[in-house]
Symmetry: C2
Subunit: 203 residues, 2 copies
């Protein structure tokens, strides 16, 4: 059965999104056939405007509406504690927890040779430059994902920072790793158990 072209196009666009397969894409397209036109009109317009309206913070490379993002321009935040994350979305996760009062640095991904992403594609040079301008002792919290690529990227950056000629000293930390809250030891993988043992703390 040849579907009308307008439906096919909507299906194709949904299918290109991560995590949406052909069946879900079809379901979504047919769902949108039954909603008021106003909704589709608005949905279409916000998609078209998304990239036009969102800016990238010149300091931390997070998303913002201004030149410098809310967090970087907040005088209440500690500029000498920088949490390095892969994506701006990771900042949303940390901020939803609250408690962290430092600032962030968005790499824009991780080093991934299989996908042709080298260090120069990421905001690593910009992080080094940022560190060079700071005249106090700084803590860098490496908060890339606990994947192979995230671990390798964290190590790569650690090496880069250690080669810097910094008179104030830089403390490099990695976010805690081990069993997630609510976890059942019986289902944990070996790597996580080993990390949990290494990361034990006095209580």
């Amino acid at each position: 059965m040849k579907l009308p072209k307008a439906i096919e196009e909507v299906i194709n666009n949904f299918e290109r999104l991560p995590g949406i397969g052909p069946k879900s894409a079809g379901r979504l397209a047919f769902y949108l056939l039954n909603v008021p036109q106003d909704y589709n009109q608005q949905f279409g317009e916000v998609l078209i405007n998304l990239k036009k309206k969102v800016k990238i913070c010149r300091q931390c490379f997070s998303v913002t509406e201004k030149e410098i993002c809310e967090i970087c321009s907040d005088v209440g935040r500690n500029k000498f504690q920088i949490c390095v994350v892969e994506r701006a979305l990771d900042i949303v996760a940390f901020e939803s927890v609250g408690g962290y009062k430092g600032v962030y640095h968005v790499l824009g991904g991780v080093i991934n040779p299989l996908e042709h992403v080298g260090p120069e594609e990421l905001k690593i040079g910009e992080l080094i430059e940022r560190l060079e301008k700071l005249d106090e002792k700084v803590e860098i919290i490496m908060a890339t994902n606990l994947t192979m690529e995230g671990e390798a990227t964290a190590l790569y950056i650690k090496n880069k920072i250690e080669k810097m000629n910094n008179k104030n000293g830089i403390l490099i930390t990695r976010i805690g790793s081990g069993l997630p809250m609510g976890a059942d030891l019986g289902y944990a993988d070996q790597a996580t158990l080993s990390r949990a043992m290494d990361g034990r703390r006095e209580i």
Copy 2:
């Protein structure tokens, strides 16, 4: 953290879609921040045009680009065998299998008192009218979903058809029900097993 409004709007629109939760919506919005603007532009335009370009077939209420859909206007299809489905998407499923050479009738949903959908909201009257115009023996294949609502709707339509004054006779069938291919009897529910037993066939 207050996200830029343009991102919030995209997240809200994705979240309203069935099967997409707040986390997935955020992920999709941030994904679209990193694709070329052309893609978002095109995606937005096809959404805006979707309902403008798609028509509903005057005969079977499926989706089409013309007044009468491809299947209804195909002289090779048997007009006296009508498969009644809930949604146009169900036709796509049957057509992808091939083999069925009759036509379809899209109800536009099922009778669902909890969601205030009564028989008058569906294309049941239109089905009866369609049957009245046919001057040969007709087979109606009830292919609504195997849910409580789908079953009830099939029965409701059966009763309606049986009250018709049709001199040619109408055969009403229900699509086969039982264990799906690849199924493991140990995991089948009681209702399915009971249906499978009732629906046994000589081999």
